[in-house]
């Protein structure tokens, strides 16, 4: 687009962000400060993710943007259009076709490849922030790998609720060294981060932090020996494609208590339906 540099950010800023990214990849899970810029969207809408994407995007890349698993919600549509206009890159909604995937709240159901990069939008990069108010202290805890406090939180959950009640942003240990917030993805997606072939980059714009998980890195969800980590999923098949292993959204369909459970990953659902899988909703439509 005329008047703008490729992918909106100026080259010096991209260079600064890439340096932070290199550091982040070198120390998996460690938060690297960076000079976050003002972006033409509000904090909380993905200012961190969009800066990371802008810095790694090349002219030949194909971009996919996910918001809560969907490709067609406001955040996903506007960020995809933003890069189509400012960088002129090709965009897609198909996970398999994308080389860079910017995401908020989900990891695609389809296994990512080693030629793909996934960029997470992160509201709060500090996993200990609800437990220890001082950032000076949390930095010291990270430096000394002093993570007993995080387990105190898990202990408290079990003591109060009988189980670990964290359902999203479930803390993980990266490379057996750094405690990391995986951004608000559901705990369901945590196992996908472990040994993922794709490069995982995390950008927190308001908090001005970047961190990363290099390909094939050990990512373990915290737990107790007698209360192992387990994923939670609504116990239904997808209403549209019948998938029984995908993460589901609950959709209210009417004001008489009607509920529909559908795949949160819209691309995954569409591909399954194209391949001939049908859920209960699809069968009803066919009957009518």
């Amino acid at each position: 687009m005329k008047g703008y540099n490729f992918a909106y950010l100026d080259e010096q800023t991209k260079r600064m962000i890439r340096r932070a990214l290199l550091k982040a990849v070198a120390i998996p899970g460690h938060q690297i400060p960076f000079g976050s810029r003002e972006m033409p969207l509000p904090y909380g809408w993905g200012t961190g993710g969009i800066q990371v994407t802008a810095s790694v995007l090349g002219a030949g890349d194909v971009l996919k943007v996910i918001d809560q698993g969907a490709d067609d919600t406001t955040n996903a549509v506007s960020i995809r259009r933003f890069f189509a206009r400012t960088a002129g890159v090709r965009t897609t909604t198909r996970t398999a076709d994308a080389t860079v995937i910017q995401t908020r709240h989900r990891i695609p159901e389809q296994t990512l490849r080693d030629d793909q990069i996934i960029v997470y939008q992160v509201p709060q990069p500090e996993p200990l922030y609800r437990l220890e108010p001082s950032r000076v202290e949390t930095r010291r805890m990270h430096a000394l790998a002093d993570y007993g406090l995080m387990h105190v939180k898990l202990y408290e959950d079990i003591a109060r609720f009988g189980q670990i009640s964290i359902s999203y942003d479930y803390p993980v240990m990266v490379n057996q060294r750094h405690l990391m917030a995986p951004s608000p993805i559901p705990a369901f997606d945590n196992p996908k981060m472990n040994m993922m072939p794709a490069l995982q980059l995390f950008g927190a714009g308001r908090e001005k932090r970047i961190y990363a998980v290099p390909p094939y890195t050990d990512v373990r969800s915290l737990d107790f020996d007698d209360h192992p980590f387990r994923t939670i999923r609504a116990p239904h098949p997808c209403g549209l494609c019948g998938a029984t292993d995908a993460y589901l959204d609950e959709v209210v369909t009417d004001d008489r208590g009607g509920r529909l459970f559908v795949c949160s990953d819209t691309d995954h659902c569409a591909e399954r339906r194209a391949a001939g899988h049908v859920g209960t909703e699809g069968l009803k439509e066919a009957a009518e």
Binding site: A143, G148, V152, Y155, A159, H227
Partner: protein, 258 residues
């Protein structure tokens, strides 16, 4: 008693501006021994405790700690991770105000279990069983294990703090006026409890207090401090029954005889 000291300090000096808080203080502590540091307010007792435990760096002098393998460590030359590890395993710190040490928004069980989890305990059932066991040892009803500390009385908080500190069986505990903020009857019970636990677990302790009675009841040896100097030191009974220094004489005579 072994002839090797657990903790020893030589020539400790520390000044806060013109205020000299510690002047050439020597300390020796043997395993299993309770050492009381007494003196008036502002005499440098708490500063000494903070320097001994590595929380404050002295201007001069050094503190050595002998680990279970017999190796000596210079406390102030130790790398920060090692000192931190020491503080959460071999050492304990009991504050005058338990709120400084406890997490007030975490249940009693979580508070007791934190040091265990920091040391790598990852079995919920074991941690909880040990926490309940320790609540029993400090005479807190096991039914309170899931209650928040803010529902506890002052004496219970102090006992909870002691359970939290001793759960990892430290070899050395620093106590800063552990009974300072409690009323007399609660104090007596707590002193009894501390004495029993310390004797049974063979814990060495440095106890800072302004209360001669507490020192007499708990401590094997005593150090009397005045304006940053140790004016008299020795066996507790000896020092308190036959004080030599005028300041010690004043301290002893100022205690009301019951």
């Amino acid at each position: 008693m072994s002839d090797e000291t657990l903790l020893s300090a030589r020539g400790l000096c520390l000044a806060f501006g013109a205020n000299r808080a510690l002047i050439d203080v020597d300390v020796d502590l043997w395993p299993g021994e309770m050492l009381a540091v007494v003196g008036e307010s502002g005499s440098g007792k708490t500063t000494l405790l903070n320097v001994l435990s590595g929380r404050l760096t002295p201007d001069g002098g050094a503190v050595w700690y002998r680990d279970p393998n017999g190796k000596l460590h210079d406390v102030h030359a130790m790398p920060a991770p090692d000192l931190r590890a020491l503080h959460r395993s071999d050492w304990g710190f009991v504050h005058q105000d338990p709120r400084q040490n406890l997490r007030m928004n975490v249940t009693a069980g979580g508070n007791v279990g934190e040091r265990l989890m920091a040391q790598g305990a990852r079995h919920y059932g074991d941690i909880r069983a040990l926490a309940i066991d320790w609540l029993g040892q400090v005479e807190i009803d096991a039914g309170r294990v899931d209650d928040l500390p803010r529902t506890f009385s002052g004496g219970m908080l102090q006992r909870l703090q002691i359970a939290r500190t001793l759960v990892t069986h430290p070899r050395l505990v620093f106590m800063d006026e552990p009974t300072g903020s409690l009323d007399v009857s609660v104090q007596a019970r707590l002193l009894d409890l501390i004495r029993n636990l310390v004797t049974r677990l063979k814990i060495a302790a440095v106890l800072v207090t302004h209360d001669i009675g507490v020192a007499r009841l708990l401590a094997h040896r005593i150090m009397v401090m005045q304006r940053g100097r140790v004016v008299e030191a020795g066996l507790t009974d000896q020092v308190l029954d036959d004080p030599q220094h005028p300041y010690t004489q004043l301290l002893v005579s100022s205690v009301l005889q019951a």
